[in-house]
Subunit: 170 residues, 2 copies
């Protein structure tokens, strides 16, 4: 099964974290591959790394949008490493749930081809549930997915000049 969580609202990453916790509660084996998430920053990273049955990999920890000291070539090469990891995961076939965090952004920004992501998602979904997050999901991924939710921003205090809050946005 391929699940896609997209949209511009708050709740996508937290939902994938909750999905992981839910699966672990059923003694399932889970793999999380994060893109564009700085380490030792998001509160969930500390808790997740303490849980059994979860393997957690992080690539392209910086995104050019926020970090000027990283080149597009570095990001592309990191995303390539993430895809190589997925190929290994497909071969190993040991996870019930694989979460691909912010992969929609990598496709949108040209770091991962939609055809590569689709091929990976389809192969993974033969044996596992695949959960893909990030705003602006590609239409081909939405077409291929079994379940799609869009998190829409109705109201956000950022728009009123309020800054990101520890424990809420990170």
């Amino acid at each position: 099964m391929i699940i896609v969580l997209t949209g511009n609202g708050k709740g996508k990453t937290t939902s994938s974290i909750g999905q992981i916790v839910r699966a672990l509660g059923h003694n399932q084996k889970v793999c999380l591959i994060q893109l564009f998430k700085g380490e030792n920053f998001y509160g969930e990273q500390k808790i997740l790394s303490s849980l059994d049955n979860l393997d957690f990999f992080s690539y392209a920890k910086k995104h050019p949008f926020c970090c000027k000291d990283v080149t597009k070539e570095q990001i592309s090469s990191e995303c390539e490493r993430a895809l190589d990891k997925i190929k290994k995961i497909i071969a190993d076939n040991k996870y019930d749930l694989i979460v691909l965090e912010e992969f929609n952004i990598a496709v949108r920004d040209g770091y991962i081809n939609i055809s590569s992501l689709l091929e990976a998602a389809k192969k993974l979904s033969e044996k596992s549930t695949v959960f893909i997050t990030g705003r602006q999901a590609h239409e081909d991924l939405i077409a291929a997915a079994d379940l799609v939710s869009e998190v829409k921003e109705i109201k956000h205090p950022y728009n009123e000049g309020v800054s990101a809050k520890e424990g809420i946005e990170f």
Copy 2:
């Protein structure tokens, strides 16, 4: 701060679980009050109960929609107990984050007055972040909230006759 997560799509409860995990990762103190969620059913309940700094209460574990052996009076009385618990929480003032799961449903179905929920949310939000979930959030709650996301169902395999999957929907 009052955060509301509403809408008919999959991702609201998992997002509140992820929010809890994120806050706990920053050593915050968290309280989760769930309505209408059967015990020992959802995978996350097992994991959450093993985490430090989280107090977890559950009321009205059955909902008349799915359980015919429960009366509306029983549900109302359980929701009343949940509101009493919130009053204690306001007085104790020891949590950074309070998650009120499915309280929008309790308002929609007439078990909790919107004015009672609004009063509770406003008082809680003076000292803590309040996170309220459930589809069809009341317009007065949306107006009072600082951050609102709507999870829209774009595609769901239930609609194709596929049944709920362990580790995904529960």
